[in-house]
């Protein structure tokens, strides 16, 4: 009899402890939310109120007048430019990223100092936000596609190196070992094992990066005065909200189409 009661007592203390931890976590998180709210002067009430307001704004600006629709041509032209920059910067960055990932991977590194150098360069390029790249480059390169291209290039490059590194490290360990055992040279292992093994996954990352870059390109365009982001900014500041929603809709459609194409490609190659 006494045995069962001690077990019950233990169970109760375990549950009490668990509840105490949960309570503490919730208290800490709520405290942090309040602190963050105080620092940023963020008001939760206003935040919730803004959602229906923005929704009704969107609904009321969805009906385009004739004059708005006549601008569709220039929207499409700049949208195309933005898509072009996103794709070209991603593919160019991917070429460099493959080299750096091969240098940085623990399976394929040439020597240790080079491995750390590759990782550090990638980390710096990735952790400087795209906005910072855009603001730095626009000063010397001016407002043209090259600025957007380079800003996206640096951002994508760092991210792709990290993604490719993980792909190589996870996917090709067995085949590299097998090839090394047969006495294959370094280049053999790279071209016969590592790259064929990780290429589909890498291409999938490239597709992901293109999708991300189209959204980032809008941001970069806003800051550097290029592409669709510039057009958005222009009409936004003129308070021409019909154009604003037309441009938003165009971007959404472009991203959805590209996502759909990516998914079809992924199904084929993975």
């Amino acid at each position: 009899m006494s045995k069962t009661s001690t077990i019950n007592a233990n169970e109760i203390t375990i549950i009490q402890k668990k509840n105490l931890y949960l309570l503490l976590t919730v208290v800490v998180i709520v405290g942090l939310i309040m602190l963050a709210g105080y620092i940023t002067e963020y008001s939760h009430v206003e935040g919730i109120m803004s959602i229906p307001a923005a929704m009704s704004w969107m609904a009321s600006n969805m009906w385009f007048s004739q004059s708005t629709l006549s601008n569709l041509g220039s929207v499409m032209r700049l949208l195309w430019e933005t898509i072009l920059i996103s794709i070209v910067s991603t593919t160019t960055a991917a070429v460099f990223a493959v080299v750096f990932a091969l240098l940085g991977s623990k399976l394929t590194y040439i020597n240790k100092p080079l491995m750390y150098a590759a990782k550090i360069v990638a980390s710096i390029s990735r952790n400087i936000p795209v906005v910072a790249w855009a603001l730095i480059l626009v000063i010397s390169f001016g407002t043209n596609s090259m600025t957007g291209f380079l800003a996206l290039f640096f951002g994508s490059f760092g991210f792709l190196v990290r993604a490719f590194l993980e792909t190589i490290d996870e996917g090709s360990e067995d085949s590299v070992e097998a090839l090394k055992a047969t006495g294959a040279t370094y280049w053999h292992t790279i071209f016969k094992a590592v790259l064929p093994d990780s290429m589909p996954q890498m291409f999938s990352w490239i597709l992901f990066m293109i999708e991300t870059n189209i959204r980032s390109a809008t941001l970069v365009g806003l800051l550097t005065g290029t592409g669709i982001g510039y057009l958005f900014d222009l009409y936004y500041k003129q308070l021409n909200y019909e154009m604003v929603s037309l441009i938003t809709l165009a971007i959404v459609l472009a991203v959805l189409v590209i996502e759909a194409i990516s998914n079809i490609i992924r199904r084929e190659i993975l």
Partner: protein, 273 residues
Amino acid sequence: MTAVVEHNKNGGIKVSKPNRGQRVLKGLLIGSAIFTVIGFFLMDYTGLDLTHAIPMTIDNLGQMFLSPSLNNTTWPSALWQVAITLSLAFLATILGAVISLFLAFGTAVNLSKPWISNTIKAFITVVRAVPTVLWVLIFAIAAGLGAVAAVIGMIFHSIAYLVKAYSEAFEEVDQGKIEALRATGSSYPHILFQVVVPQTKSFLISWTFLRFEINFGVAVAMGAAAGAGGIGYELFMASTFYYDMQEVGAITLIILVVAIILELIANRLKMAA
């Protein structure tokens, strides 16, 4: 009967035949290479003078990283701005995470009905297609430029990202455990909070922190592009108003240090998950 042996271009015996996926991939790689080369010619280079731009960039980068200094602001104020940006990112992440948790219960196919799951997925795909900066600016029309628009705008993308991550983690939960609880007559909330969440806790934490890391970068961007304040706004002012490369350098370095610390913590959490 002669054995059929295929030879490759060099006369050696062909040992493998590419399958459909490999051929498609090869085509895609060649296609994207060609597109990239053509793309370079299609871009708009108006006003670009490389002979001028490249040395200037190198000179700017040199000033930024070799002699960074805060000229128009002080260290305490710069660090306060970092705190603002971190807070914006934190608010968007944690509020987004709470909403995502409930949406993910509806999205995970093993916990929900197909039509609910598909509806949420479709909603999320559309939400994700709108760039964060446009969400923020759209909310700014309703709420005015500032922290409110920035946080609400960033929440939308955080939700899109976290629901996908959470629901995939939930789908990995051992179906047997869920059935065992169902067999005992447990209620739906019981199953969620006694099995599903505890089982996936470390994944949830690691994904949420990863989003926090991303949101820091986004919050910097929103400061620069959407008037959300914080260190991003300082960066924007230093580069477009003061043209002060030393200050741009100092701010970039501060952002870089914070971002690298966040990345290291995120990696640590990911390893533990």
